[in-house]
């Protein structure tokens, strides 16, 4: 009989090892799923994890895509992880991402065709403020009326989606677009475009910001009092109050940071890879970032690696759809498995497995 025994202190080795185990378990379970779908499991796994980086035919396109996809995931996940560490559950990053994109694009479009270096910084500011403001709704409702931030932030995603559709069809629609939904393409507006900074790498301003956010979060959590307060509040709320932490202020700060970063991600996306506001502009980065945050153990460096891994499954997944005809739902299930296994093996860092008969305590 197998039973679990609580470790006196969490094991550092297992904390580092469990994500690797989760990835391996996902590969095995995913392989079985692909086999059940009638695909060659080895080939499917190779297509997802290997080909995007090393296949001669695809790598030239896929490799820059890796950072293009990982950038927003990391940026959003870093913000979310601060909240998750403090026990503030912002599930609505997708909504903040959309609002950030709308605000950023709106500023750019309003200034069109002004050719000034001020345009892009203004858009960045507007994107961050938009995401921040959208996140302040659950923050204020929670601190004032004690509503649940999980529900409020999640439901606001659907509000943001409706707003996005209305913007794409109405206010922000391209006047020269022949009546088609969608805004002007910002990539064709030099002062507002978020272009690739180094050719062939996929690095744009959003990726740079994501790397800065990783460093910022790392320093905050390990060296700064606010980071310490965030960690105490999450691990022992009562001890945090005893230590003088104001829980309401922490809710506002954490939701504010994660909202602003999600808004930035949305703004960089709309000005760069996506180029324009469309009805289906959002692509679930905000939700996938939750997985990335946990896959990275809410640790900034871990999130950096997890974001790249998750981007890989995105690109590889598309490749597998395209090359092997794997259904899109199977790729989503595959990503879901990753989170599932991660949470399942997580138990090992706090407990150890013991074989044998249980003993009455």
């Amino acid at each position: 009989m197998i039973r679990l025994e609580r470790r006196p202190s969490p094991s550092r080795m297992w904390t580092a090892l469990t994500p690797v185990m989760a990835v391996l378990a996902t590969m095995i379970a995913g392989g079985i799923m692909f086999a059940a779908l009638g695909k060659d499991p080895v080939e499917a796994i190779r297509t997802i994890f290997w080909d995007p980086l090393f296949n001669e035919q695809f790598a030239a396109y896929s490799r820059p895509q890796l950072l293009v996809k990982a950038g927003p995931l990391i940026l959003i996940a870093i913000g979310l992880s601060l909240g998750f560490r403090a026990g503030v559950w912002n599930i609505g990053a997708e909504g903040q991402y959309i609002i950030g994109a709308i605000c950023g694009a709106a500023v750019g479009l309003a200034l069109y065709p002004l050719d000034s270096p001020i345009v892009f910084p203004l858009m960045v500011l507007a994107g961050a403020l938009g995401g921040w403001a959208w996140a302040m709704i659950p923050a204020i409702l929670k601190t004032r009326f004690n509503t649940n931030e999980i529900l409020v932030s999640l439901l606001l995603v659907y509000v943001a989606e409706q707003l996005l559709a209305s913007m794409a069809l109405g206010l922000l629609r391209n006047p020269e677009g022949g009546g088609f939904p969608g805004s002007r393409n910002l990539q064709q507006y030099d002062a507002a475009a978020n272009l690739e900074l180094f050719a062939g790498t996929g690095v744009h301003w959003g990726v740079v910001t994501a790397f800065i956010a990783v460093i910022f979060a790392y320093v905050l959590l390990s060296r700064h009092l606010l980071g310490f307060q965030i960690r105490v509040a999450g691990s022992a709320p009562r001890a945090a109050r005893f230590a003088g932490v104001n829980p309401a202020a922490l809710v506002v700060i954490c939701l504010g940071i994660s909202g602003a970063l999600a808004g930035l991600a949305g703004m960089f996306e709309v000005a760069g890879p996506a180029g324009q506001i469309t009805i289906d502009f959002n692509s679930n980065y905000g939700f996938t970032a939750i997985i990335v945050a946990f896959l990275g153990r809410l640790n900034p460096i871990g999130i950096l690696l997890a974001g790249i891994l998750m981007a890989l499954t995105y690109i590889g997944g598309e490749l597998a759809q395209f090359m092997l005809g794997v259904p899109a739902a199977a790729i989503q299930a595959f990503q879901g498995m990753l989170l599932f296994f991660l949470l399942a093996v997580d138990v090992l860092s706090n407990f150890r497995l013991r074989l044998g008969k249980p003993e009455a305590a």
């Binding site: 006196p8 202190s9 969490p10 700064h224 606010l226 105490v232 691990s235 022992a236 005893f242 003088g244």
Partner: protein, 505 residues
């Protein structure tokens, strides 16, 4: 031994890394009240758990009524006539007395019969109980009665009681002892675990002393002094805290007509609390747990804010200041609940040193943390207060309760408070470390600090307090000089027997 009811023969039980019981032998005769003495971690709990069938011994034998006895589970122990009253009650507050008792029975009789039985048995033993009352409305003493009556309904031959008086006032203790003596006279043996040596001297026929899992001696309590027994428990001579007499100084902390509505369903509201603490003074606050102790601490620590005009420090109103603003003024505190309140369980001792020490120890500059200084502060606490830990990086939850308590108290004392309030400062701490903590509190007072000690240990309060007051139902009695107070007077300050009927036996 032919006249023995229960004999333990070389019982051994080892857990990974520690031998909880090492060849423990003892015997209890019918009707004997036998005390099990020892510090925390001496192995008392493991021993009674083996007798009650909760833990299986690794080796050794037990004999009950001359027949081999090896209960596989508590059900078997109960069937053999062994019953146990735990320190922590296992009662459902939303159910009434009879329902709670029925839940613990294998085959509960119909409700009406059971109620009748409860009434009969509880009256016969001087522990009157109304079977229809909701447990949530009962006092701690009455809840304990429910547990005892639950045991008595099984006609036990051996009753095990684990720290039964820790939640009782002196008057309630007297009622309990009358009942236990009556049980003993009828031939029921009682195995009695307690830290309170004076109680043991008045109640118990014999005592076995455990230290580090081994039997280190036995004695007849009535013929030994409390000091002799304590020294047998700890294995060295006990140092009594000393306090040179000094004149108290100016009033530092002044609480007047303070009300604090309870924020939770099971909390206690503070009502009209008045308290003045002078420099150099130790004020002891007694009372049964749950009568407003936590709330009083939170009002002083700053976790609970109150309107202006009710609490001042050196003449400055501090009702609206938060914990850190009060720390800046020199008001520090150490709450009762170590894991999760005074310390963050999953964080290291270094991080826990930072928890309250940031401000007064200057552990951060412009918001950036100085880990080197924090590490040095943690090491200082560990050294000065003899905290037993492999290093300062282990999680707080890995420490034993007593060691963590030493760390928590040390953390506050080493920040040189002007006013310190502690709740249960020596709870779970062994006797010599408890003496060291009390000495540290007295030293603080001597250096001119105002010290408030909230505790359930009356002996501790009488030992170190200048003034004594008691909390009862959220009200604080008027403080009286602690010197010369009798247990009877203290008991009345704590609320007497909480209107429980006295035993008629």
């Amino acid at each position: 031994m032919t006249d023995s009811l229960l004999t333990l023969d070389n019982l051994t039980k080892a857990y990974p890394g520690v031998v909880a019981n090492d060849k423990v032998s003892l015997s209890i005769g019918p009707g004997e009240i036998h005390s099990l003495l020892g510090e925390n971690g001496a192995g008392k709990s493991t021993l009674v758990k083996m007798i009650y069938g909760l833990v299986k011994p690794d080796s050794g034998r037990m004999t009950l009524h001359g027949a081999p006895y090896a209960p596989a589970e508590p059900k078997a122990a109960r069937a053999s006539g062994v019953a146990m009253v735990f320190q922590h009650f296992s009662l459902f507050e939303a159910l009434d007395v009879a329902e709670n008792i029925a839940l613990g029975m294998e085959k509960p009789p119909p409700r009406r019969d059971l109620s009748e039985q409860i009434r009969t048995v509880s009256h016969a033993y001087g522990l009157p109980l109304d079977p229809g009352r909701r447990v949530g409305e009962l006092s701690a003493g009455e809840r304990q009665r429910v547990e005892i009556v639950r045991c008595l309904l099984q006609n036990p031959r051996l009753l095990i009681m684990d720290e039964p008086t820790s939640v009782l006032t002196p008057q309630e203790v007297d009622i309990l002892f009358t009942t236990l003596r009556k049980l003993s006279a009828e031939g029921t043996a009682i195995l009695y675990i307690s830290h309170k040596l004076d109680e043991i001297r008045s109640l118990c026929d014999s005592a076995t002393v455990l230290r580090l899992g081994k039997v280190v001696g036995s004695c007849i309590p009535a013929q030994s002094t409390a000091r002799e027994m304590a020294e047998m428990m700890i294995g060295t001579s006990l140092k009594t805290p000393t306090r040179p007499a000094g004149e108290p100084g100016e009033v530092l902390l002044n609480i007047t007509a303070l009300d604090l509505p309870s924020t939770s369903q099971f909390g206690t509201s503070l009502r009209g609390v008045d308290l003045q603490v002078r420099a150099g003074q130790v004020v002891g606050i007694g009372g049964v747990a749950g009568n407003g102790q936590e709330e009083l601490l939170s009002v002083i620590s700053g976790e609970a804010c109150v309107p202006t005009g009710h609490i001042t420090f050196k003449g400055q109103d501090i009702g609206g200041l938060g914990p850190n603003q009060r720390r800046a003024l020199g008001i520090l505190s150490a709450p009762e609940e170590r894991l999760g309140h005074a310390a963050a369980p999953d964080m290291s001792l270094v991080e826990n040193a930072l928890l309250t020490g940031t401000l007064r120890k200057g552990l951060s500059r412009n918001g950036f943390l100085d880990w080197t200084a924090t590490r040095a502060f943690a090491a200082d606490i560990i050294d000065t207060f003899d905290v037993r830990t492999p290093n300062a990086d282990v999680a707080a939850r890995a420490l034993s309760g007593g060691n963590l308590q030493k760390f928590v108290i040390g953390r506050e004392v080493l920040q040189a408070p002007t006013c310190l309030v502690v709740n249960q400062p020596t709870w779970g701490v062994d006797a010599s470390a408890a003496a060291a903590i009390r000495q540290a509190l007295l030293d603080l007072a001597q250096q001119g600090a105002a010290v408030v000690v909230i505790s359930q240990d009356l002996d501790e309060l009488l030992e170190i307090s200048d003034l004594f007051a008691a909390l009862n139902g959220g009200r604080l009695s008027a403080p009286r000089p602690a010197y010369g107070l009798t247990l009877d007077e203290i008991g009345l300050m704590m609320g007497g027997a909480h209107d429980m009927e006295v035993a008629h036996v």
